[in-house]
Symmetry: C2
Subunit: 442 residues, 2 copies
Amino acid sequence: MNVPQSSPGSRLDNYVDRYAARTAGMTASEVRALFAVASRPEVVSLAGGMPNIDALPLDAVADTVARLVAERGTVALQYGSGQGDETLRGQICDVMRLEGIEAHPDDITVTVGSQQALDLVTRVFIDPGDVILAEAPSYVGALSTFASYQADVVHVAMDEDGLIPEHLENAITAVRAAGKRIKFLYTIPNFHNPMGVCMSAERRARVLEICRRADLLIIEDNPYGLLGFDGEPMRALRADDADGVVYLGSFSKTFAPGLRVGWAVAPHAVREKLVLAAEASVLSPPVFSQMTVSAYLETQPWRSQIKTYREMYRERRDAMLDALRTCMPPGTSWTNPAGGFFVWVTLPEGLDAKAMLPRAVTARVAYVPGTAFYADGFGASSMRLSFCYPTPERIREGVRRLATVISEELELRAMFGSGSTPGRALPGPASPTTQAPGPDLA
Amino acid sequence: MNVPQSSPGSRLDNYVDRYAARTAGMTASEVRALFAVASRPEVVSLAGGMPNIDALPLDAVADTVARLVAERGTVALQYGSGQGDETLRGQICDVMRLEGIEAHPDDITVTVGSQQALDLVTRVFIDPGDVILAEAPSYVGALSTFASYQADVVHVAMDEDGLIPEHLENAITAVRAAGKRIKFLYTIPNFHNPMGVCMSAERRARVLEICRRADLLIIEDNPYGLLGFDGEPMRALRADDADGVVYLGSFSKTFAPGLRVGWAVAPHAVREKLVLAAEASVLSPPVFSQMTVSAYLETQPWRSQIKTYREMYRERRDAMLDALRTCMPPGTSWTNPAGGFFVWVTLPEGLDAKAMLPRAVTARVAYVPGTAFYADGFGASSMRLSFCYPTPERIREGVRRLATVISEELELRAMFGSGSTPGRALPGPASPTTQAPGPDLA
């Protein structure tokens, strides 16, 4: 076959038989096309996981960045180390101390957001067919990364206190009995995405103990740990096991995501592998971003900025929980997050959140269907609602609209025996597309 | 085996039996330890590929960035699209028009430096054991990426006019006869890294024709295309084949590398895969960096900045070629780059550039041995000298020192029948380490 010279904009794929096997796991989210519609201003999006950064002191940040470029521009605009800026790595140690972690700057690899840390950890550990244990449900972006490395994700049940230790033990036993290799447990212990819950202190000790006995590495993903609305941050798993835990952190929610600065803390030998993988991937993370974060941490009151964020998100959480209590029809249940960005809503029996989504978007409200957070097709009766981005008024309005849609679905169901059915036409472009943002950025 | 709780800083690798197979291809460069020594100020490093950005108008860039943050900070510091900023993608089309490329902003995926574009292309196309054709020698960072995806690199000979078409044809035939799949040809047609040469216009047409007939995708890596010292930029391969070429570009050498902004131009279906792979890898490239580049292109005289860079690099190239002519002992040969950063030097017969490196560093000059640029162990008699970073005076001094070392090696050889032998002790830390910069960043 010759590659024909087609006109620009041709949609024929001349390479269809030549992609790597791993691309089978790289698919656009099925709800992606819908999110293109959901980004219209008249739609209240409770779908996206974007932080609200309106509260940032932009003039102060502008001054900080201008000084950085004018005074240290030839360093800030130059290539840097694959492991990341040493000053920033020291400051990251200070930030992590808030969660009980004692680490050395050399333990840290700075990454292009903590998504890259996830990517690098997966790249370093996962051969096709290896098993990753993950909470049920789990972060959609992690599931995409795991799929792109052809991992098999086995979900472990969780409840309002996080991952259930007995289920973890059972999963380890069952997977190993089936002759498969488990490479790590992936967990989001604080203000879980999408469930909004925290792993209790008692369970943390149990999970650490189980993984230690089973010789199982833990990947602790912690973007929301400092965004708790009550009391002190919880103690990180990494704080109690320096050798058995790789910890992933991020400035995306405590400062700003557009800089793409995250990090991994790993045992020495793993850290060396992560740096080699990072170099093969991007040479070095952006020095410009890293030094901006470093200068921000040094010159700005970052602790009080986090407090400002917490108060803003608490107000939005309150608005959402209040509206849910006021508006939702009986049979609907939801989690009670004490921090973070998300509430997990479970619909009255028989309703399907994915099938209902087109109707919701028509009613000008969007959410992420629960199925997005499972590697195995579960989650149809649930949805994730985000309270991070819209104002409290918009959140109330969005929940009111959603409650109306759910009530109508229940009425339809009472009348005809079923609500929305899967396969119903979407009010947007019919095929998934990469033009629209992914579920977490919608 | 239980994971023991070792003390912080433990150097035992509890995970040694658990890494993915691909990590076997992720190794620290053998000359890396030496570069830690070579970065001492008394050593003239002709090793690194870092651009010299002293000529940047830092105050103007500082103003641009400050205005960006103050006026559009809530966008610039927020998550963005996985494909990259649309305005920037339009501006990239303008930049590429200088090389004859007519592309649409939708054809472009913005990446974290063009290294990430290389990584994503490899991720999308390469299964373990697939063959990549690459020039002999080729860019060390590409070889690292290819190795990390377990590709087999087959080198194709080049000369002063670039890749030799007949060798390309023979390589395609031989690899296919051996029953292996070739996924793409990787080429750096302009001011080649490490050889410094350009593919002639006549050869470009031949290479395109051969690849079209053989149904072989071309990856055209072009970081130096606008840094020619004479005349107009050469016409890109992509300019004559929109469907058969994936083009990789970068702002690292025409603006600044610390922003990490590069891009890939690809046929539509490939571009969709690249964006999905990018999202699984980093969610989105840094909006902060992208909008900084975009504002720079919009408000600053970027064309004249490139002219400034060209003149600076030409002066350094002249200094290096002049010093080589003046100082090198007979039997040494080198390329005559008309742009870019690099001269490729071949030693008198019998000398080994890698074995000689410790002696060179002791004599306070560093280079990258030719073997770094081959996947197959060749290149021992050659070395790459960079003229991009040191001043003309330092370049002359470095070449003088290097010539002295070579002459001494020749004398040793004349007396004892051999010069330096491989395996000789290095004057730095004995083991490869990720602490030092990689060969291209030293």
